[in-house]
């Protein structure tokens, strides 16, 4: 076993992080840790939302779009999270298939409905924004279509989880599907660059830096942080529920087995 104190600092940090991940593989320890952490996370989320919504309220109107630009403060963070959650699921799927981390499939299963909800909210808020801006609720351009396909893939993963009975087998099948679906993420990100779309091109994550004014960028980033904290809090809570659900299932199976043997 490597003596941690003898390692130089960068490697020591890596080793500590890896050990933390391995420690958290124990569901009981994970449950204990999240029970302590969740109240603070919930508080931080509420605080971030309060600050973000206040900043969004105080932000100036756009010279072209007027007050409707404020839909962006909800639409863009949801869209970012829709893609980020699939990325989280992809990493969790690698954890299941490659590293056999015990809680990786729990993480993937818990994240899927949250990601679907964020994608749905992004589509709905975007649609409501499109009506005054573009004159239509929906258009089949590259960005909207690829995000809709992402939503369908989320539903597909959820359907797969609900069709296979054994949670471990379901986890591995869902992991393969998630890895295949990860190819949609770069397509969504670059769809506005590769195709001539009605959806506006990238204005924040692009070469050359953001092109949004700071007075609108700041509330946007705070709201993005708030939604990210919301996802982390809900994700940990959902993982706790899933662990407890599997324990209940194991107890049922033991009970049924004992009744059969009696």
């Amino acid at each position: 076993m490597v003596n941690g104190a003898a390692l130089p600092p960068p490697w020591r940090l890596t080793r500590n992080l890896v050990m933390a991940l391995i420690d958290l593989a124990n569901p009981t320890r994970f449950l204990a840790l999240t029970q302590r952490v969740l109240p603070f996370l919930a508080g931080a989320t509420a605080l971030a939302f309060a600050v973000g919504l206040t900043l969004a309220w105080l932000a100036p109107d756009d010279y072209q779009q007027g007050a409707t630009v404020r839909i962006m403060f909800i639409h863009v963070p949801n869209a970012w999270l829709a893609m980020a959650v699939w990325a989280v699921m992809t990493i969790a799927s690698l954890g299941t298939l490659v590293w056999r981390h015990p809680l990786a499939d729990v993480a993937a299963k818990a994240a899927a409905p949250l990601g679907a909800a964020f994608t749905f909210l992004a589509l709905v808020t975007g649609s409501l924004w499109g009506r005054p801006m573009w004159g239509t609720y929906w258009v089949w351009d590259a960005r909207l279509t690829s995000v809709l396909v992402l939503f369908l893939m989320y539903l597909g993963v959820i359907a797969l989880w609900r069709t296979v009975e054994d949670p471990a087998r379901a986890g591995r099948a869902a992991a393969v599907l998630t890895l295949v679906g990860a190819i949609n993420l770069p397509i969504i990100k670059f769809s506005v660059d590769w195709w001539n779309t009605l959806h506006q091109p990238a204005s924040i994550v692009r070469a050359g830096g953001p092109t949004i004014a700071l007075s609108i960028l700041t509330p946007l980033l705070v709201m993005a942080l708030a939604f990210l904290l919301l996802f982390v809090a809900l994700h940990l809570a959902a993982m706790r529920n899933e662990i407890l659900r599997r324990r209940v299932r194991a107890m049922w199976l033991m009970q049924a087995h004992a009744a059969q043997g009696a």
């Binding site: 797969l160 087998r169 591995r172 295949v180 679906g181």
Partner: protein
């Protein structure tokens, strides 16, 4: 005869025999293309404009329906376990099964396209364009369908899970297939780009599909 070519011939023979369901796909294709004018109306000009799209949708759905028998029969009688334990790499074995599936299910669809194109009032050039794009694109549908078939192999009541998993992934193939067909009909200048992308999708899915399907089979049958 190498193991892989033996597997290929075995699958093709089984598909053609009774219970194999090889030509059922063509029948379904015919039914879908026949049903559409009942729904849309007999306006020949309209049918001609959306003809390539109807043919592509019918081919997509027909190849989708035949996918569940790709692994299910082998899973039931245990030959899938033999494949998993065999000396041939599982990815290549899966690719051989996919090739047999394509030859017996999708190739008849491509051959049936000219007849069905007549129902939709497509002229000879349009029929040729659609058939060419189908020939280039149906291997992509098989490759992507492999993944769904492998994921749902052991499910008894899988039902609609296979189409639900596979259809979102086949959207790009459909988009570029129809785009290439329409581009060929309007004026051959724009045909190259979508057709190249369609071929790229086919080549890509013929690599990703077997690897993902092999991973799904290995992990799902443990």
């Amino acid at each position: 005869m190498t193991p892989l070519s033996a597997l290929l011939l075995r699958d093709m023979r089984l598909a053609v025999r009774v219970g194999g369901g090889a030509l059922m796909g063509v029948l379904f294709f015919l039914l879908v293309v026949t049903l559409t004018p009942f729904a849309i109306g007999p306006d020949l000009a309209l049918l001609q404009r959306i003809g390539p799209a109807i043919l592509w949708l019918g081919a997509l759905l027909a190849s989708l329906l035949a996918l569940d028998r790709l692994f299910a029969a082998d899973h039931e009688d245990g030959s899938l376990d033999l494949l998993l334990m065999g000396s041939a790499p599982l990815e290549l074995a899966v690719l051989a099964k996919a090739l047999a599936h394509w030859i017996t299910t999708s190739l008849p669809l491509v051959i049936a396209t000219p007849l069905l194109g007549l129902f939709l009032n497509l002229d000879a050039f349009a029929i040729g364009a659609v058939a060419l794009t189908l020939l280039a694109g149906t291997p992509a549908l098989t490759g992507i369908g492999l993944i769904g078939a492998a994921l749902s192999v052991a499910l008894r009541r899988g039902g609609l899970l296979l189409p639900v998993l596979v259809l979102p992934l086949t959207v790009p193939v459909l988009i570029f297939g129809v785009a290439a067909s329409n581009a060929a009909i309007i004026g051959p200048a724009g045909f190259g780009a979508p057709f190249m992308i369609l071929c790229a999708l086919t080549l890509g899915s013929l690599v990703i599909g077997p690897f993902a399907a092999a991973a799904a089979l290995r992990h799902g049958l443990e």
